[in-house]
């Protein structure tokens, strides 16, 4: 997809809207549905990977140092990772998007 989604005209569409590029759903930004984002605290993380296993969107990735982070392009903010993170660790906190952006400004 060379054009951004809001630039595609009706003339750009393939016959019957057929998708000819395999896997192009990865270009679909589901992250903008999010109202909360997961914040990962490395100091509490035990690298158990439960968040990675339970993420229904498959958007949690392991970094080179073995910790985990959510790809915010796709993360819908469901909070399952924070819920599944073992109670003893509690390494993931869900933060309201609005609150997070406000904090950033300060």
């Amino acid at each position: 997809m060379t054009k951004r989604e809001n630039e595609i005209t009706w003339k750009d569409l393939e016959i019957g809207c057929i998708v000819t590029e395999p896997g192009n759903a990865r270009q679909y930004r589901t992250g903008d549905w999010r109202s909360e984002r997961p914040i990962f605290d490395k100091s509490k993380c035990t690298k158990c990977g439960l968040c990675y296993i339970f993420c229904p969107e498959g958007c949690i990735e392991q970094t080179e140092d073995g910790y985990f982070e959510a790809n915010l392009f796709y993360c819908k903010g469901c909070g399952i990772c924070a819920r599944e993170c073992p109670p003893k660790a509690q390494a993931i906190t869900m933060v309201e998007e609005e609150e997070w952006w406000q904090k950033g400004k300060e």
Partner: protein, 391 residues
């Protein structure tokens, strides 16, 4: 060349047309008055006379779903249904056109329940009016065979790629035996090249079909669909012209009968026109300037041809074989709307008749025309009149 004509039931003739078109897949569920079409096709396949897959599905919803899959791999695909069957198929009917899958469907027009009626009218047609299919009406057996062949050609044309319905009246056409001239196999092969769907499902070249369309793109998909359907008209006209050149039978979106100098026009769709012609002939002999218009192309709607055909008439009487409850005659409402902005237009009078298989005789059409002329002069308190209804 004048081919020999054969006396045959119109339903059976459709099966033969499909055989001549060398269809690859037939998925259908039997329903009166369509049954003989699929029975014959099943037999042709079972006897090895037609090399096709016949899929005996469990419902019309499944029939059209199977047709989607067949057309998606590039198979030449045919189905047929009627009335309640078309209703059960309804949601998938939209999918076929929106996915641009060239399926041909014979609809043997039947009234809708309740009360249960297996007989013909256009209620089922009107319920699928907005589904985005090309829709062609035929009036007799020969036109049915001709237009089934044309339907494959139009549907599969690279510039169209849309499904086509051929509408024929249940019983009045499906169950009558008519003299029909079939083209030779070699002529059909010449007229109808192999189906080459440009983006078929193919494991070596994967594509995804029928994906979802979020708000940012859905409007564009519908615009593309509309432009495509409107553009199909050019190809339909081309196809009919070429067919006429090859076989000597020409078709047009709106066809006239005794329209020269006609001040009063009657407009019909489907097989009733042939009975109406008798009334027109009689009235013409009596010196009355009446003519008949037959609307052949229902979708895409032929605005220009309709306007052109009625421009010199003073009265236009439209007979609908369906009722849009709380409104009136669906064909008439579209005709009125097509003429509304014209500076010169006839008075339009709406009749509804022939519901649930009730006949209208030549004498009946004469009454409709005379009553229509009367209403055009005196006006009427009703938006439409139901012909022949017992008060």
């Amino acid at each position: 060349m004048v081919a020999k004509r054969e006396g045959i039931e119109v339903s059976r003739a459709i099966a033969i047309a499909c055989k001549l078109a060398n269809v690859d897949v037939v998925a259908a569920y039997p329903i009166t008055p369509q049954t003989h079409i699929v029975e014959d096709l099943a037999e042709l396949v079972a006897d090895g006379e037609l090399d096709a897959a016949f899929i005996p599905v469990e419902s019309e919803h499944s029939a059209m779903s199977a047709c989607l899959g067949a057309a998606a791999v590039g198979a030449r695909t045919f189905t047929a249904t009627a009335g309640q069957g078309l209703e059960l198929m309804h949601e998938v009917v939209y999918v076929a056109s929106s996915m641009q899958l060239p399926i041909v469907m014979a609809v043997t027009n039947r009234a809708l329940s309740a009360p249960i009626s297996i007989w013909g009218d256009h209620s089922d047609v009107m319920a699928v009016r907005d589904t985005g299919w090309i829709q062609i009406f035929v009036e007799n057996g020969q036109q049915t065979v001709d237009n089934v062949l044309c339907a494959f050609r139009i549907a599969e044309d690279r510039r169209v790629l849309l499904p086509v319905m051929v509408h024929l009246d249940g019983f009045h056409l499906t169950h009558v035996i008519e003299p029909i001239s079939f083209p030779e196999q070699s002529e059909v092969d010449q007229f109808l090249p192999p189906n080459q769907y440009p983006l078929p499902l193919d494991p070596d070249k994967p594509v995804a079909m029928g994906d979802f369309g979020p708000p940012y793109i859905y409007t564009e998909t519908k615009k593309a669909q509309e432009v495509n359907l409107e553009a199909a008209k050019k190809v339909i006209l081309e196809c009919w012209k070429e067919f006429g050149g090859l076989f000597g039978r020409y078709y047009s979106p709106v066809e006239g009968y005794q329209c020269e100098g006609a001040k009063v026009l009657l407009l019909t769709m489907g097989s009733f026109s042939e009975t109406a012609m008798e009334a027109i002939d009689k009235m013409r002999k009596e010196g009355k300037k009446v003519g008949l218009l037959r609307l052949r192309l229902w979708r895409p709607f032929p605005f220009e041809e309709v306007r052109q055909a009625v421009k010199d008439a003073e009265v236009l009487i439209v007979l609908d074989r369906a009722l849009s409850f709380g409104y009136g005659g669906p064909v008439c409402s579209e005709i009125k709307s097509a003429l509304y902005n014209e500076a010169k237009k006839p008075k339009v009078v709406s009749f509804i008749g022939g519901l649930g298989g009730r006949d209208i005789s030549p004498g009946g059409f004469e009454q409709i025309i005379n009553r229509g002329i009367e209403i055009s002069q005196t006006g009427s308190e009703q938006e439409f009149e139901m012909f022949g209804v017992r008060e």
